[in-house]
Subunit: 346 residues, 2 copies
């Protein structure tokens, strides 16, 4: 008999620890009969083919008795919601037919019933486009990179931008877009292989291995001798701290994430010592949610579809095979084991 | 014989220490004959009556061999430039007559020859206005408060703003302007006397003694139960760190200074642990120089002159008597001994 496999949030990681693949989630298998599912009018039953795992899924995974956060705590027993690529198995909705391939808002499971409030997020995958790109440069990560560059950084040709976590989903988009806009683009990554990819494949002006650098400040100074106009930050912590000392007058810091700090308890967090470097420097640090820029999705796709198709824009995907391997892939995203945007092939 | 007294920068404070009034500056007295001064065409000789001392004067006072800063290091032997209120003693300039009272860009000394490049900063003091207000709400500090509120914070009526260093020159302006714009305004200060002044005299909605608070986070939470829309920061360090955890979605943090960090060596600086609270919160932290908003001076004076005259807007000045007491007054500004905007009556 067919089973629905679900990745269920079991309990919070120890205060600030990594989301241990064995303890944080459990893999639950339940017999599943697609024909027996009772669909209400408008609802759609889909089978998920690819699921997105993103750093932000970490935000709710804490014990509210131990940790304070501006994000609501996820309740144990929850199956995390995410973007996916899904095929329609049954439909009680005239807009979606059996067999349609959709960019979807589903859950970390094999089968999802998309109910009324979530129908708004369904879109048919356009012919000729790699469906997985909807989970990267044509979806949320793409929008984060696109809005961060065009709306927050507002770059001028000739400026110098540094992008952290450059081989991550957002970093790949932001750095290539910046390059196309005429900026000098400096990237960084945690291995020499990734650094080579940034320069040789993505065509950045320079990149360095932040794990191997004796001093991050010196590495930035070497690659940005005139200083940094834009620091596109996804990492926070010591990389941000080093960059703060190298910012030029009028610099911008789009803050799209601080992944280095997500798995640390409060007392282990990196204490930033250089924020006062911004004083008197007309510098803007701006955090944002990609969802605040949803109205730019069409414009962004317009911008990215052609260069993705003809290879001018590249995007590397780390595909974890099998839903049961999702917890390990989630873990690997924080340890730097994965290379490129992480998705799970169900 | 008349003397020109000058406060000469002697040597940097020990790495990151307070600017020790005895060692950092020396008081130099030189015989001075106003008639013997050789004025070039266009130049003006003024006698300074009031001189402004501001936290930003600290920026250049470091040893470049020990400390790195984005600001150029002041050379020992320099007399610091500042805004003042000055009377024209001799003039080789048709625009300024002997006896004119001027808002001026002079130096920490009794007599200054205003030469060609600095003439642009001279303005006649308007009749009916307390000249010292030009060093406060009608001058640089006023502009810092005005631009920070109107251009950076862009407040909406009904929002909650917290202003740090609220009894300082900029804080008094920013908090009263915010109150006038219909915001709920929470202030803080380092003594109960100052706290009472904020509520009873300036009319803020609430204020607390940040030195007496067991937890800054709890104090902020108590006074801003719905969270903080705008944190107008002049202090940085632990107060900023506490505020970061209480910011609402879409919050703004105009950063007009981080006075708590100016007198600390790098290893003693406060390590901010909560910056990652901004992630996903659409929060903007923006530092700025008031000089970037000089074009707003006329509009700001228009806004402030009447309420200052009729007492709707208040401004407290800490007047240090005698130029030789300038170093001690400068020191007192960082220790919290002074109350209100510090000026020296020459």
């Amino acid at each position: 008999m067919i089973q629905n496999t679900q990745i269920v949030y079991a309990k919070p990681p120890a205060d600030g620890a990594l989301p241990d693949p064995a303890g944080t989630f459990s893999v639950v298998r339940t017999p599943f009969d697609a024909q027996a599912v009772n669909l209400k009018s408008g609802e759609v039953l889909v089978e998920n083919h690819y699921l997105s795992i993103d750093p932000y899924h970490r935000f709710g995974l804490y014990d509210p008795a131990l940790t304070r956060s501006q994000f609501p705590a996820t309740k144990p027993g929850t199956i995390i919601s995410t973007y996916g690529i899904s095929r329609v198995l049954r439909s009680a909705n005239p807009k979606y037919a059996v067999g349609d391939l959709l960019y979807s808002w589903v859950r970390w499971e094999r089968f999802t019933v998309v109910d009324e409030p979530n129908l708004q997020y369904l879109q048919k995958v356009k012919a000729g486009i790699d469906p997985v790109h909807y989970l990267g440069p044509l979806g949320g990560p793409g929008l984060t990179g696109y809005a961060g560059i065009t709306q927050i950084a507002k770059p001028k040709a000739g400026e110098t931008i540094v992008v952290s976590a450059t081989t991550g989903a957002v970093g790949m988009v932001a750095s290539q877009l910046a390059k196309r806009l005429g900026l000098t683009v400096v990237g960084m990554a945690g291995s020499d292989e990734k650094v080579r990819y940034l320069v040789d494949e993505l065509g950045l002006d320079a990149a360095f291995n932040y794990r191997a650098a004796a001093s991050l400040e010196d590495a930035l100074k070497k690659h940005c001798p005139q200083g940094i106009d834009i620091f596109f930050d996804l990492v926070g912590g010591k990389i941000l701290d080093a960059a703060l000392t190298q910012m030029k007058l009028g610099g911008r810091i789009p803050s799209a994430g601080m992944v280095s700090q997500y798995n640390l308890p409060h007392d282990k967090r990196y204490g930033l010592k250089n924020l006062h470097s911004i004083v008197g420097m007309d510098i803007t640090i701006q955090s944002y949610r990609s969802s605040s820029w949803e109205h730019l999705v069409a414009e962004m796709r317009e911008e990215f579809e052609a260069p993705l198709s003809d290879g001018r824009m590249k995007f590397k995907t780390h595909v974890a095979e099998g839903l049961e391997n999702l917890p390990a892939a989630f873990y690997g995203m924080f340890t730097g084991e994965s290379f490129g945007k992480t998705v799970v092939k169900v």
